[in-house]
Symmetry: C2
Subunit: 341 residues, 2 copies
Amino acid sequence: MNAPEVFGKYRPAIDRELAEVLAERELPLYDMLRYHLGWVDREGNARASPSGKALRPTLCLLACEAVSGEFEMALPAAAAVELVHNYSLIHDDIQDDDRERRHAPTVWSLWGKPQAINAGTAMRMLASLALLRLNEHSVPLQKQLRGQQLIDESTLKLIEGQYLDIDFENRFDITVDNYLDMIFRKTGALIACSLEIGALVGTKDERTIAGFREIGRNLGLAFQIKDDILGIWGDEKKTGKPLAGDIRRKKKTLPIVYGLQDSHNEARQSLIKVYRNGMVEEDGIRTVLGILESLNVQARSRKLAETYRDRALKTLDELELSPQAKRDLEEVSRFLVERSF
Amino acid sequence: MNAPEVFGKYRPAIDRELAEVLAERELPLYDMLRYHLGWVDREGNARASPSGKALRPTLCLLACEAVSGEFEMALPAAAAVELVHNYSLIHDDIQDDDRERRHAPTVWSLWGKPQAINAGTAMRMLASLALLRLNEHSVPLQKQLRGQQLIDESTLKLIEGQYLDIDFENRFDITVDNYLDMIFRKTGALIACSLEIGALVGTKDERTIAGFREIGRNLGLAFQIKDDILGIWGDEKKTGKPLAGDIRRKKKTLPIVYGLQDSHNEARQSLIKVYRNGMVEEDGIRTVLGILESLNVQARSRKLAETYRDRALKTLDELELSPQAKRDLEEVSRFLVERSF
């Protein structure tokens, strides 16, 4: 399944907005940010095309257009959520010791961890400054402040999720509920914020705004569960991530949490043994994959992702939006669960 | 010289405001923040008294009271600048590999660097959320947004300064001008922001607001230069930092920059040799101290700090403020340069 057309529709406007936010930020510090965003190579030379799906800004603009018929006034918010997402990736890579992302060396692996910490936090500050540009679109002041509160609170939730994710690394008692609480913060909060802030900019109707938040929460969970599935069974060529990469990195993603929760005796002991070891070898990966298969984990994970997608679609159905807007949002919702990258 | 009385005057109100900002933040993530702020020990048990001078919030409240006769309405801004400062300390300690601060283990040395990164960024997010509480003091919306822009831009400047500081570590061609540009960002921006935002909350008069910004910029430089002097010649018992600590940590502070800029031949070579070595030994420290003495660096550094303090006092003198407010601000300005801790 290809990405829905709507991803292409907004992309040039999103890229222009981001370029303006970073304009006149001249110190070499900002080269790390431009590198991470895929705009320049490590020497600072311009690159052909930016990377990433730009999911969050697309959702933001889609929500604004769905409620108001226009998307331009939400561009500052779209840039802001994309920058929040990218700040979190820079810090995640440091925290997880990941040397590669999207087939390229991570910021810290080129500039060292101390400077990469600066790059991440600078990106997060630019997100807040990007949002202040709502003022140029004559968005009411009260809404601007509410937008600031929304991205600050959702960033805090994201950090809480990252805290729990790291905390889970050395624990074997994680339940599916613990896991859902963690991704609700780590992924759900910012995706909910993206839709909510887009709706907030475009309408005064509180029921609609709350509806988009609810859609975002469920889509965020569906999206992350699909990400977890791809992190183990995804096609390396399409995802840009190594086969069974999340097993190699010993992440406690949903499939592993199912495995730990539902396996018994020997199977559970071998699972724990693999995750307690230093490096995960090919043998260990085969063991884990075998146990997950015996527990039918891939299908159950997909089922759970579909449950959250369906909740999002149900809320969407109850909102009063144009048929075109509903179709676009439905298409994106389906894509998030059916994508192979 | 003791800290001026005004530091004690505001302290209870600052601590109450900070406590409210952190109230109901229950995850163990926030224990790291409370530990860093000196409220609890590493097990989470309450401690007697918070640590630190609370310089920035004090300046903020002083500015507000000086222009309006009241300080309460600036409390959200005071809490915000204190949280920005403390976020930067948590990340600095990670970046500099410092295991101790204020006679206690740093956050990362107890919880590890990945979680300490989360603690720092969470603290920075709470700063923005703290500032949103200006709304409860009926501060006009336009001023609230301007306040957000001020703390975001000054945090970005602070990160730029930290970027340069780390960049300077492996360079021996740093001039005094490079150094001043670095501390202008790393320390000056947030101190200027503290005074400016306090004035902004209290008055509409743009000339006065700009005056406080100018005072803050100069006081920030004076304060940092004094910090650098204490970092080499300060009394360990008073500063809580080891004797000649900045030489041991090989920081390129003002005295060292003077030394590198003005020494020649053998002296310059021995200076560089000490700074290129792995660990700095007692021998190396004696060498550096000898060279700095021969160049009269301590007196010249003090002179430069006094120059910036005098610029601050001159701007202060030109503002129309009550005699009491002027006296308080003068006393704090003098303290920043004459303090021994």
